[in-house]
């Protein structure tokens, strides 16, 4: 066995360029699979992982969601809020206003969305995961203070907005007390274009106290779906409608995301499979060439007494060595590429995620490399090993 390995190694080394090309062919195919799968898993993990942290959340809004359209049907009444709070199993409850306003800074006016609500609740939802770059978070008695998202501070106006700058919101002067960090996490990325206010400020200064978003946290995640259903019923009863309220648990959002990710991963695997097929054809071609080129040598070996099986095993050993190296190189390249791609994609999309290189993906990559390489080597090797010695020797 050691001698066979040595011989296989010799003939690989002898045909260095061709062997390197074959290894590269395999490596590229495997790297494509490994990197695409790892990026897919990384994306999925980043999103579901983050959402799982919010698994006890239920979002309630007075709107119909069909596909991607969101039709607001009104706002919640005080009775709605009270009824929801009465439902068992709810740990925390927060009512918010979510609307748009005309905002002016140094003579430039833009419409911007604002969110107002219980400052404690907003703090745990947004300030904790994202963090403030400047200033402080809102206090319950901040009458005319506001905290702004990263894009509000940097992109919307001609000049960058800082703490203590004044914004005019719907004609009322507000002081910026804090600026958020750029939200790098997926879930909270929607805070970048928002302004945060206290409930008091919205009510007194902007004359709106319409509650159109309720956030609920439950004690037991298992009960989330059930509680969401109860909330929906309670509010719908109040309004005499079947589909006034929409209550979504994080769980159902994760599920929705899961479907999306299965599709994305399917596409990625599809692309990788095409890459692999192309690579396999290349590998088969090089193997075929390499065996054909050595028909004479095979003839000589048979003439001096090698059995067909000796010849076959030598060639298979050779192709599996090449595939093994190709597979290892491919896995390493794939893992590195996955990290680079996820870094690039993360920066481009403004989200933070790392590729997840699963051992089973690497193992799968190795198996595919070996199978493709050995199969590609098998056909020409068997063909050559079955030639009669004279026939093969005559081949120059």
């Amino acid at each position: 066995m050691r001698d066979k390995l040595l011989m296989a190694y010799r003939s690989i080394r002898e045909r260095r360029t061709r062997s390197i090309l074959t290894v590269l062919g395999i490596a590229v195919g495997i790297a494509a699979i490994v990197s695409l799968m790892s990026v897919g898993y990384g994306m999925e993990e980043a999103i579901t992982g983050e959402l799982t942290g919010y698994a006890d959340f239920i979002g309630v809004f007075p709107a119909k969601i069909t596909g991607t359209t969101y039709v607001e049907l009104g706002s919640f009444t005080d009775r709605d809020l009270k009824d929801v709070q009465r439902i068992g199993g709810i740990k925390e409850f927060s009512a918010m206003t979510f609307d748009s306003a005309e905002v002016e800074y140094r003579n430039k006016r833009v419409p911007i969305f604002f969110i107002s609500g219980d400052t404690k609740e907003l703090e745990s939802m947004y300030v904790e995961p994202v963090g403030l770059k400047e200033g402080r978070w809102l206090r319950e008695n901040d009458y005319k203070g506001c905290v702004i998202g990263d894009r509000v501070a940097n992109d919307y106006f001609d000049e960058v907005v800082h703490v203590n700058d004044k914004l005019i919101i719907n004609g009322e002067k507000f002081i910026v007390v804090g600026v958020f960090e750029k939200a790098s996490t997926l879930y909270a990325s929607d805070i970048d274009p928002y302004i945060f206010l206290t409930l008091r400020a919205t009510k007194e200064a902007l004359q709106t106290d319409e509650i159109n978003y309720i956030m609920v946290r439950v004690y037991d995640i298992e009960e989330a779906e059930e509680i969401a259903e109860e909330i929906k019923e309670a509010i719908n009863d109040n309004h005499g409608l079947d589909d006034f309220a929409n209550a979504m648990t994080m769980g159902s959002m994760i599920e929705m995301m899961g479907d999306v990710f299965n599709i994305i991963r399917g596409v990625l695997v599809g692309i990788a499979a095409i890459a692999l097929v192309v690579a396999s054809i290349g590998i088969m071609n090089t193997m075929l060439m390499s065996v054909m080129e050595r028909t004479h040598e095979i003839g000589v070996m048979k003439a001096i007494g090698a059995k067909s099986s000796d010849v076959l095993s030598l060639f298979l050993l050779e192709s599996s060595m090449v595939s093994l190296v190709g597979g290892v190189v491919g896995c390493v390249l794939g893992a590195v590429a996955a990290k680079v791609i996820s870094l690039g994609a993360g920066t481009a999309l403004g989200i933070e995620f790392g590729a997840v290189v699963k051992p089973e993906v690497l193992l799968g990559g190795m198996v595919v490399a070996m199978v493709v390489g050995v199969l590609a080597g098998f056909y020409p090797a068997r063909k050559a090993s079955r030639m009669s010695p004279v026939e093969a020797v005559r081949h120059e």
């Binding site: 001698d3 002898e14 048979k302 001096i304």
Partner: protein, 220 residues
């Protein structure tokens, strides 16, 4: 002992049938040194290939030590080529990725001989053909005559009873040719059967028996 019985090899060339061998009946005794001569295309190589079990006849049979080679399996034929016969080609046909030592050891490798044993024997065989100082050279680093001597050493690797040479001196100069014939003569003296094809009348004169071929037939 080698015996052929109505040995025939026909090549189909388009519509025409070419009889490379035509009912050849030939007996070669154990320990004989026999030269086969004849014009180009008369079927000499074809005959040697049949005797050396490198090719299969269209009809007729080759008996080696009484065994009908036509009845042997692929592996059985490989075993005869490996154990009983040493074949020397006009074109040397060494494996160019291996050095002289490894080339000579190759038939022993296929025979399953232990590494140390076969390398030692290969070294001795190379010394016997005067190449003791060239054992790590690759074929490309040797002259034609040296390569042919490596090929002879390789043919002797598994100590065969029969040594077959198809124009073993065809690609070397006269002087080297003589050395090679000397070596073959020595092998014959050791008791081996030696069969060579040659165009060289001088060589033919030195051997025990000469057979002439023409148009696929062996003449008396």
């Amino acid at each position: 002992m080698i015996r052929t019985e109505n040995l025939t090899k026909v090549y189909q060339m388009g519509d025409a049938e070419v009889y490379a061998l035509h009912d050849v009946n030939l007996e070669i005794q154990e320990g004989e040194f026999i030269a086969i001569i004849g014009p180009s295309g008369s079927g000499k190589s074809t005959l040697l290939n049949m005797i050396g079990c490198l090719d299969t006849p269209t009809s007729g049979a080759v008996f080696i030590d009484g065994i009908d080679t036509g009845k042997l399996s692929e592996n059985g034929l490989a075993e005869i080529r490996r154990e009983k016969i040493g074949f020397i080609f006009q074109q040397f046909n060494l494996v160019h990725t291996l050095n002289a030592l490894e080339n000579v050891a190759l038939p022993m490798f296929f025979a399953g001989v232990k590494r140390e044993t076969r390398l030692k024997r290969a070294e001795e065989l190379l010394a016997n053909v005067g190449l003791g100082d060239r054992i790590y050279h690759k074929p490309s680093e040797m002259s034609g005559g040296q390569q042919q001597r490596v090929a002879i050493a390789r043919a002797l690797s598994n100590d065969p009873e029969v040594v077959i040479g198809d124009e073993p001196t065809g690609n070397v100069d006269t002087e080297t040719g003589n050395t090679i014939i000397d070596i073959l003569e020595g092998l014959n003296k050791e008791g081996r059967t030696v069969v060579v094809v040659t165009h060289d009348a001088e060589i033919a004169a030195r051997v025990g028996r000469t057979k002439r071929m023409r148009d696929g037939r062996v003449l008396d």
